[in-house]
Amino acid sequence: MDGVLILDVTDVTFRYPKASRDALRGVSCAVRSGELVAVLGPNGSGKTTLVRVALGASPPHAGTARILGRPAHTWSRRELARVVGVVTQHEDNLFPQRVRETVLLGRYARLSSWGAERVEDHAAVTRALERCDVDALADRWLWTLSGGEYQRVRIARALAQEPRLLVLDEPTASLDVRHEMELFELVRALVEREGLAAVVVTHDVNLAARFADRIVLLSDGVVAAAGSPEEVLRHDVAASVFDWPLAVSSFDGRPQITPLRRPS
Amino acid sequence: MALQRTKALPLAHLRSAGGGICCMRRWAHRTHLAGWLLALAAGACRSSADRRSTPDGSGALSVVDDAGRAVVLAAPARRIVSLAPSITELLFAIGAGDRVVGRTTWCKYPPAATAVPSVGDGLDPNVEAIAAQRPDLVVLYRSALTESATGRLAALGIPTLVLRHDRLLDVGRTARLLGRLTGQSSAGDSLARLIDSTLAVPPPATIPRPRLAFVVWDNPPMTIGGGSFLDELVGLAGGENVFHDIRSASATVSLETIAVRDPDWILILTDSAPGPPAWSTRAEWRVVRAARARHFLYLPAELFGQPSPRTPEAVATLRRLLEAAR
């Protein structure tokens, strides 16, 4: 049974100003509630650009990007923040902050400039902390957290926005095995238990294969393959996209990629 | 003596965007004594060096200047570069004006001096321009900047004389000194006697003595203290400087201090036509009785700027003004 169509990117073409080539060409991607979509591809294939265009940050030159039926660029920042929670690749906290404070920032889109935080805001924060299993850390300073804990706090902040879609840009880039798995398990749980939609941009092909419902594999600005992990991660497609000899095996019913060594 | 470049106040707020502004050096035009206070050098130094000149048998003249240096000339100076207006004036006054071959841009008195080529502003002496005049004596006002210049001139073999005259007493002494070095001893001595005698005339004994205060700048209010010759002038003219107790030549004071000391008259040094200064209409100055009543006395900056041969005239002018003000 299909979930609600949240993100609908159809045939978009986009080129950065003063660039000589299109960054995206005829790319389509749809994300429904209750599903986890992984966006994969080598560096420079257009993963981050796709997210930008999908969220209306850069209007496409051709094609459409819609969120909940409306063109993405017509959403105001504030409206969009009530629907989409984004955890970016980099964050740079200038001044020391506690966990609870930073998660509270997720309520911005639902607060007025002058009004104080209400009971429901604090309740949303507490719920978000619990769902991400960081409520025990609520009064800690951010800089005392480990990488994994910190990422979970950022997801909690995104959850505090009470979004329908979560977008995570390379969330496990610097995490160790345990924290990587914990993070993906968390996102998977949110998608299955609460019906959230999730888009995860990642370099980790194997984790994506284990946890995602669908994969969009980009190569040089076009969709090289899209569909279930089995459909996408086939030897011929994957090896040509990643430009490296691969072996494809199966684990737990999901394809797993192993890059081969060059013969010496 | 008149010109003095002073260093910025210790708080050079180097970070502020102006950056440069706060590190700027303060300029004190000879008519504007405000710079004196800012000087880390002003006021405090009074050289008690013994200045003798001993013509010895060979005709050589040897003196000790205000920096404690021995200056020896083989013969009376014939080509003199003067780096302070008061010194230029003195040289002309003792009849050595024809020997002045270089002056600063500020040296405008007497009028004949303007015919002499200028070697720059004298605050940071332009050694090249000075040397170009081939002087056999360079007279400088003592300050931190001129010290380095004396070194450079010495390296070029040019004798330098460093003088400091901040007080009225210094005028006579300087006149004698310059007289000896230029072979105009008698003129120097008689000028010195004239000045000293004028200064020895007791001030008119008006009871009570008029209470006066200089206001050199309004924001922050700057006044002249007991360490300066203007204070001496006031005393000679029969008045009383309400800030006589401040030891330095000039100082920043609170507006309320001025209000509480309540001078009868406010003295303004001005280059241009006399008239109430712009700040006198500001609301905060109305607390000062003399400002409220527009009791201002205007002193020509040119005449009152520094001790000079015309100082007796300055004293007389001030006495007249005080008389008329009563």
Partner: protein, 313 residues
């Protein structure tokens, strides 16, 4: 409670500013004395308004340019103000308000220049450009000012620099009234930007995703903080360290949430400046120290204490 202590401290400092001074005014004459009512009270109020403005401007700017060393005077405004003042003197503009007005206009001119620089090439107020542009514009103005001063003859020009250091001497009820009319708008704009500033501290991209209209917020904060600083410079010259240190002091006690940080910075900045001014008036009476000297002498040790607290974490 912290707020009570802050407000109490401010009130105490204001009272001290009114009661203490180089002129001995007996307590029973306080309410009648023109020195108190025409000089000390307006001066204390001016200190509160200027110190408060600098504190708030500093806190906002530190968050805006994402640099804990930012100070309101890094934007080139003081250079512009100096140039304006010197121009007013050189042109012999009449009126007792000519200097402050010209300084204000000069400051705004510098602001416009830096703002324009910040927008070049679609940069949209990149913090690094703002900082570097501010330093460049400030240095340029300072250079032009020095050139004018060194080439011109007017003796008063030298003292334009004195004015820039002027401090609170020019305080009167007129000055206070003008500021009371002028300051509320930029202050309100900054207080209203408290929440977006909280987001901005996370980085512009993340702030955008959390719902902040980053471009608009940056513009508003930059302009409002600059207008506050321009008014401060025009009325009191360049008073250093208040805009830099007060936000850090406030942050160490109130945390980074701008809803409390900004008002705390206002009150603390006002208290610091008034206290410094009182000290400046009284310490070497009958002479007066420039207030910028005292804020540095008082501010730097406080800052060092703060640094030690940070490194003790």
């Amino acid at each position: 409670m912290k707020w009570l202590a802050l407000v109490g401290g401010l009130v105490a400092v204001l009272l001290a500013a009114v009661v203490l001074g180089p002129a001995a005014v007996p307590l029973r004459e306080l309410t009648h004395s023109p020195i108190v009512w025409q000089l000390r009270v307006p001066r204390a109020l001016l200190g509160l308004l200027v110190g408060g403005s600098l504190g708030v401007a500093g806190a906002s700017l530190q968050s805006l340019v994402r640099n804990p060393l930012a100070d309101p005077f890094l934007l080139g405004l003081s250079g512009g103000a100096g140039l304006g003042a010197v121009t007013a003197i050189a042109l012999h503009l009449p009126g007792s308000w000519a200097l402050p007005l010209a300084a204000f206009v000069g400051a705004l001119g510098a602001l416009g220049l830096v703002f324009r620089l910040g927008l070049v090439g679609g940069a949209e107020l990149d913090p690094r450009i703002l900082l570097l542009g501010g330093v460049a514009v400030g240095a340029f103005c300072a250079a032009v000012t020095t050139a004018i001063v060194s080439l011109a003859e007017a003796s008063e020009l030298r003292n334009a620099f004195l004015w820039l250091w002027g401090g609170l001497s020019g305080a009167s009820w007129d000055t206070v009234r003008v500021l009371l009319v002028y300051l509320p708008l930029p202050l309100l704009v900054l207080f209203g930007a408290a929440r977006p500033l909280d987001l901005l501290v996370l980085g512009e991209e993340q702030a955008r995703h959390l719902g902040a209209d980053v471009a608009v917020v940056k513009r508003r904060v930059y302009l409002a903080a600059s207008f506050l600083t321009a008014a401060a410079v025009a009325t009191a010259g360049v008073v250093g360290f208040v805009g830099l240190i007060v936000p850090h002091l406030a942050r160490s006690l109130w945390g980074g949430r701008h809803r409390s940080l900004l008002p705390a910075s206002f009150l603390a900045g006002g208290a610091l400046l008034v206290a410094a001014d009182t000290l400046a008036r009284v310490a070497v009476a009958p002479r007066e120290l420039p207030v910028g000297v005292v804020t540095a002498l008082v501010g730097v040790p406080l800052f060092v204490l703060l640094l030690r607290r940070w490194t003790a974490y």
